[in-house]
């Protein structure tokens, strides 16, 4: 790895440009990826990272520019052609069938799958060689997110790729799982496989990558050796401005506002996670951060507090009042508000206007109805207030929710709840897919709200975010919530263990000979 500077160029990108109606996704992007190098592609959401790798993987054709692979002109017409030339990609969202086992899933992606027995043996061999033990006969539906990712990686490794593209691979992993993955990637790199690593997580890039190319608004704005830069310098390259870090005033903890005790909820969804004996307390003016890998009960916890899922009356109390059996609107009357993760289709109705979406949760507290009739004038005022105070970029309040970009809709959704002056607010993934400056302003608004005495729960998969704004931290793991601990002074290792450690996957690199079977139990 140390001598990658000398290694020959594997893939040379020259002036790649791709425009979509209204936006230039990639504007004359050029850089080199050398053999065996771990190359970071760094940029905010919307910087053009995905478009770029889709061009390399043959999913999107560039408008202009050329790619050269080991000196040959490289113009993949489809992913199959790219794979034939040794390009493999692990997507952020997995394409696996829950009901099939690992080997069957892998066979499905192959042009000419070998016999099942041979394939299973091969999977076992490759997976152990790279420290990613997998049981080929395990049903995918029973695997953790980290193990599913292994299936995708093994699927790629079976093709013996020259370039492995990984799109935000760590968003579904605990810190321990990340360490295992990195060990595998370093091994691949030592063996000469180049890795194009897409992320916006700076510490990861600093610890893993040899080179970094920074994209901003579709253009290459810099390249560097990440180890030689601080995370802050990388962030500022990525964002193009000096970052404003949210401020928080020191404060005394108030009285307990929200208390959840021994809450168990069966998930209505067969692939959902049931909550098991969850207990927590949030005090006035406090932010409780809840981490955890996606799908460990986050949606269910939000639903139990928002009122979408009813529970035992006493399982959720606010200001000492049992509210577990109240509907969402009855809870809103008591100033208990929520902002779900899924923006379109849960927090907001995609085809309805922002005015109607303001009414969606604001009807009770903003007094937008009178004996059942909607006061559209007041609803419009409320929508405009959200748009103005939270800097939502939209031509007007009559636009449909789905016409907004993810970040702007997120500002609208969070703003809608914050402006209703909650005593209790639960937000799931407040800044997912939001650019850095908007994320900072959303976090600041949550901190301001806490300062005014609200009890806030922030559920997020972004640990940096949670560490930045939470007073205390807890983690969800398979429907159970760890004890909450003060956020100050928590180490990454401790957080990882609260999130369930490596979900029984740690055997990987430390004891490569040991046999390993299905991990989640």
């Amino acid at each position: 790895m140390s001598d990658t500077g000398e290694a020959p160029v594997l893939l040379h990108l020259d002036g790649l440009t791709k425009a979509y109606p209204g936006v230039v996704a990639n504007d004359s992007v050029s850089f080199d990826i050398r053999e065996g190098e771990v190359h970071a592609l760094l940029g905010e959401n919307g910087a053009g990272k995905s478009t770029l790798v889709k061009m390399i993987y043959g999913l999107v054709k560039p408008d202009s520019g050329t790619m050269t692979l080991r000196g040959q002109r490289f113009e993949p017409s489809e992913p199959r052609a790219a794979r034939a030339d040794g390009i493999a990609m692990v997507f952020q969202h997995f394409s696996l069938f829950d009901a099939l086992n690992v080997a069957e899933n892998i066979a499905l992606g192959m042009e000419k799958p070998p016999k099942m027995g041979d394939l299973a043996a091969k999977i076992k061999e490759v997976s152990e060689e790279y420290g990613l033990p997998l049981d080929p006969h395990a049903t995918v539906g029973n695997l953790s997110a980290g193990e599913r990712q292994r299936v995708e990686i093994i699927r790629c490794l079976l093709q013996d790729p020259k370039l492995l593209i990984m799109d935000e691979p760590t968003s579904v992993l605990t810190p321990q799982e990340v360490e295992i993955l990195f060990e595998t990637l370093r091994q691949l790199s030592r063996e000469g496989t180049a890795i194009l690593y897409i992320s916006h997580k700076l510490e990861e890039i600093r610890s893993l990558c040899d080179e970094a190319t920074v994209l901003r608004l579709g253009k290459v704005v810099g390249s560097c050796t990440p180890r030689e830069k601080s995370a802050r310098e990388l962030a500022e390259m990525m964002v193009g401005e000096v970052l404003h870090v949210p401020e928080r005033a020191a404060k005394d903890a108030g009285e307990v506002v929200l208390s959840v005790s021994d809450l168990s909820v069966d998930s209505p969804n067969p692939f959902g996670t049931s909550l098991k004996n969850v207990s927590l307390e949030v005090r006035a003016g406090e932010i409780l951060g809840i981490g955890g890998v996606a799908g460990n009960g986050q949606d269910e916890l939000l639903a139990a507090i928002s009122g979408e899922a009813k529970t035992d009356q006493g399982a959720v109390t606010v200001h000492g009042k049992a509210v577990g059996n109240l509907s969402p609107n009855e809870r809103r009357k008591l100033a208990i508000l929520a902002a779900p993760e899924e923006r379109l289709g849960h927090a907001a109705a995609p085809d309805m206007s922002l005015i109607e979406n303001a009414l969606l949760t604001g009807a009770v507290r903003k007094d937008l109805t009178k004996s059942g009739f909607v006061n559209w004038g007041a609803s419009r005022e409320f929508a405009r207030e959200i748009i103005k105070k939270f800097d939502v970029r939209t031509p007007g309040s009559t636009n449909a929710a789905r016409s907004l970009s993810g970040g702007n809709l997120q500002k609208f959704v969070v703003g809608r709840e914050v402006l209703q002056d909650p005593d209790v607010l639960v937000v799931n993934q407040p800044t997912w897919g939001v650019d850095a400056s908007a994320a900072a302003s959303i976090r600041q608004s949550l901190l301001d709200l806490a300062e005014r005495g609200a009890a806030i729960i922030v559920i997020s998969q972004d640990l940096d975010e949670l560490m930045e704004i939470s007073d205390r931290f807890a983690a969800l793991n398979e429907g159970s919530l760890s004890d909450a601990r003060p956020a100050v002074g928590l180490t990454v290792d401790e957080i990882g263990l609260m999130m369930g450690g490596a979900h029984g996957m740690e055997v990987a690199h430390s004891h490569p000979d040991e046999h390993h079977e299905g991990a989640t139990s």
Binding site: P328, P340, A349, P350, M352, T361, F373
Partner: protein
Amino acid sequence: MIRLEKRATPSKQWSLAAPLLAVLLTMIAGGFMFAALGKDPVEAIRLIFWDPILGEFADYFRPQLLVKAGPLILIAIGLSLGFRAGIWNIGAEGQYIMGAIFGAAVGLAFYPAELWIIFPLMVIAGAVGGTLWAMIPAILKTKFNTNEILTSLMLVYIAQEILKSMANGLLKNPEGHGFPGSRNLAHYSASSNPELIAGTGMHWGVVAAFIAVIAAYILLSRHILGFQIRLTGESPRAARFASVRPNLLIVICMGLSGGLAGLAGLFEVTGPAGQITDKFNVGYGFTAIIVAFLGRLNPIGILLAGLLMALTYIGGEMAQLQLSIPAAAIQAFQGMLLFFLLAMDVLTNFRIRFGREAA
């Protein structure tokens, strides 16, 4: 290559133009069908769309327009509320029959008394009959999660059998010389639903249809229940987040659509039809589904669509009589209208692009 591109916001112009374009395309395609049957297409289209309103015998046909459109609009308004919320009541025909039976039974029970209260009581009984019949699929759905499309449809056939039994049994006219069918309610003044303004076809059922159009319009645009109905149809999860109780909404929407269908049945049996017979129902409950979609599930649209559909009914009959076009061809013609409407609907949410995919 032609491809579709999703619009960021549904196009207002196209949502207005699509029904007009659909009518036009129906005329063209229907014209080909009539030509293939060896009939003069221009003549047939003229008979269907022009003569009932402005032709030689229009004075006879014009009142029929409201007589036919009234029940279609009344039923379609009820259905549209459920359809908006994704609740598919396909059994309005059965609810229409049950409304007629309930209402007629109340009227016949009072025969031959002459009290002003009889007709209002019949109206209430008609609404109750339709509502109760609709409650069966509603409760099956909320309690056992059955598919309301199937159950409401199957209940139509049961209602038809009950109708036959009533016409030949319980409600049979004792002075009817053994013919099936009840006494004629239209001839019995306490229970009759007469033409209110001579020569217009306007009867209480048409009045009720207009009131329903206005009420539905206000409900959907101004009332929180209308908002909840629209929200549920668009995004059930967001609706639950907004505190909508899905089961309650199912009961309300099924009840409203059943009640309005029952009313339509009652007004029909006391007016234009006059009596309960085994052939009392003529498919208004099914045609109303087409009317609801043709009107884009919008109350004003349904008003217009009901009138248009009534026109094709009357004109279709004329074409059958005068050009001896088979009844099946007229039905096919009406089917084309729905087909083209749904096809044109795509244009509201998508735009057509020619050329290669850009992505």
